[in-house]
């Protein structure tokens, strides 16, 4: 398993993560910033990897 880490200060609320991996990422109702629905993912989860790669603000990483 890998840990999902979100930096809400860096988040630009684009919604790319919620669009790409909706089981793991949601957005805050007020300002659209990332809300983690899970803090872990399978090592080879493509959707989560895509969400991290596509984040325009570099606000997501896996550890």
């Amino acid at each position: 398993m890998v840990r999902i880490i979100a930096d809400t200060e860096a988040c630009a609320s684009s919604g790319m993560c919620a669009l790409t991996a909706p089981e793991y990422f949601d957005q805050d109702d007020e300002d659209g910033r990332v809300v983690l629905l899970a803090d872990e993912a399978e090592d080879r989860d493509d959707e989560v990897a895509d969400a991290v790669r596509l984040c325009p603000a570099g606000a997501l990483r896996l550890a």
């Binding site: 910033r33 325009p56 603000a57 570099g58």
Partner: protein, 418 residues
């Protein structure tokens, strides 16, 4: 102020080949970037380029890798200084040649700001455009699409898909979301268009902006007195925003919501009609639509003049010395056709993987309305295909008038029949 040629040249590799003057605009094919731009992209990832209006040296970035890097790096500022320099001809700009210093910021226009100013204003709106909120909006978008499809079906053939469908669908939706009365559109549509019209003079653009500020100012006062359930009322009630900021933010949403999706809907339809197998695929397998929209965004890249940034302090980037006040244009259309990132990028394939396209930009400025645009396009293309499965061009494709000299690429008219 130094003449362009008196600027000391940087390292030799930058000057070894001819320096292009601006981004070529002439196309051989309606859906492909100009061959001359693709040739620049194949030559190198990043090069010198001269800027309009008077030929100062700046930079052009063409690869997907470097486009992402520049757009994610806030040293490449969105706050554009002067004298204004642009990658395509814009006749109005000569008037600003003697203007030194930075242009005053237009209040609320956060697309031209850097963090933290940009962050403060953008976060006032990001809650409105979340994936979740757009799903809630789906029935409203579907209602506007059905309304226009009904009108098309009842109207004469051939029809102009631009005026009768592509323009009104997103315009009705952004007006509804903002709380701007669509039936007063004669007060803002021409001015919204003038802002993106590059043959408009600088004075014409300023007048358009002032008209829009006046129109929105009236609306904001009305919303404050009598709030309704819309974005403008929420912004007007926010104690942290002044009226000019609210007006500027609303103008940004209004003009962005009008022009961009409209261009994509018309050009996207033409691309599907000219690649009939792709139209039929989407018709037979509607579940492909979400990916198909991403592919159309990538393949057509209507932001054909790229995204422009200015460097504020001397810096080194990828082995190049970039000087303070130099402009950098990120060519999204070549990045989206970069073979290093996409498989068979010159082919339209609605089953392909277009993830990572840069049509909505990248970095903290990435399109605020992208989830709305996606939802609008999915519903509009699906509705069009379902209602008019036999839709076809009413003129030869070569006779469809292209719009090449404006900020957004597209077609001026799209005569269709069925």
């Amino acid at each position: 102020m130094s003449a362009p040629d008196s600027t000391p040249e940087t390292s030799a590799p930058d000057t070894a080949e001819a320096v292009p003057y601006g981004i070529p605009l002439e196309r051989d094919h309606p859906f492909d970037p100009p061959a001359a731009v693709m040739a620049l992209h194949r030559g190198s990832e990043m090069r010198r380029m001269r800027y309009y209006p008077e030929g100062r040296l700046g930079w052009l970035v063409t690869s997907h890798r470097l486009a992402r890097k520049v757009l994610a790096d806030t040293r490449f500022s969105s706050t554009l200084g002067s004298p204004a320099q642009v990658p395509i001809p814009m006749p109005g700009l000569e008037g600003y040649l003697d203007f030194e210093g930075d242009f005053p910021l237009t209040p609320g226009m956060f697309i031209e700001m850097d963090p933290p100013d940009h962050t403060r204003l953008r976060r006032k709106l990001t809650g409105v455009f979340t994936v979740k909120r757009m799903k809630q909006l789906e029935p409203r978008i579907a209602a506007h699409v059905q309304d226009r499809l009904d009108a098309l079906a009842a109207g004469p053939r051939p029809a102009d898909l631009v005026a009768d469908f592509a323009v009104p669908v997103p315009a009705m939706m952004i007006c509804e979301l903002l709380g701007v009365p669509y039936d007063q559109r004669e007060r803002f549509e021409a001015d919204s268009r003038a802002i993106f019209t590059n043959d408009e003079t600088g004075g014409g653009k300023e007048a358009a902006i002032l008209n829009l500020f006046a129109f929105l100012g009236e609306l904001i006062a009305a919303k404050r007195a009598e709030p309704t359930d819309d974005v403008l009322s929420d912004l007007a009630a926010d104690p942290e925003l002044d009226d000019n900021e609210v007006a500027g933010m609303a103008i940004l949403l209004l003009v962005a919501g009008h022009e961009t999706t409209a261009k994509m809907l018309a050009l996207g339809t033409m691309a599907l009609l000219e690649n009939r197998d792709q139209w039929e695929l989407l018709r037979a397998r509607p579940e492909l639509m979400a990916g198909g929209v991403e592919e159309l965004l990538r393949y057509l890249t209507i932001i054909h003049t790229g995204l422009i940034r200015q460097v504020k302090e001397d810096m080194e980037f990828e082995g190049h010395q970039i000087k303070a006040r130099e402009y950098v244009t990120v060519s999204v259309q070549t990045a989206n056709r970069d073979e290093a990132h996409f498989i068979e990028p010159d082919k339209l394939d609605v089953t392909g993987d277009a993830k990572g396209h840069l049509t909505f930009g990248h970095g903290v400025h990435q399109c605020l309305g992208q989830q709305l645009a996606r939802m609008e396009m999915r519903i509009a293309f699906a509705g069009l295909i379902e209602r008019f499965p036999g839709l076809r061009l009413a003129v030869p494709a070569a006779e469809v008038p292209l719009v090449t000299g404006q900020s957004f690429y597209g077609v001026a008219e799209l005569p269709v029949t069925w």
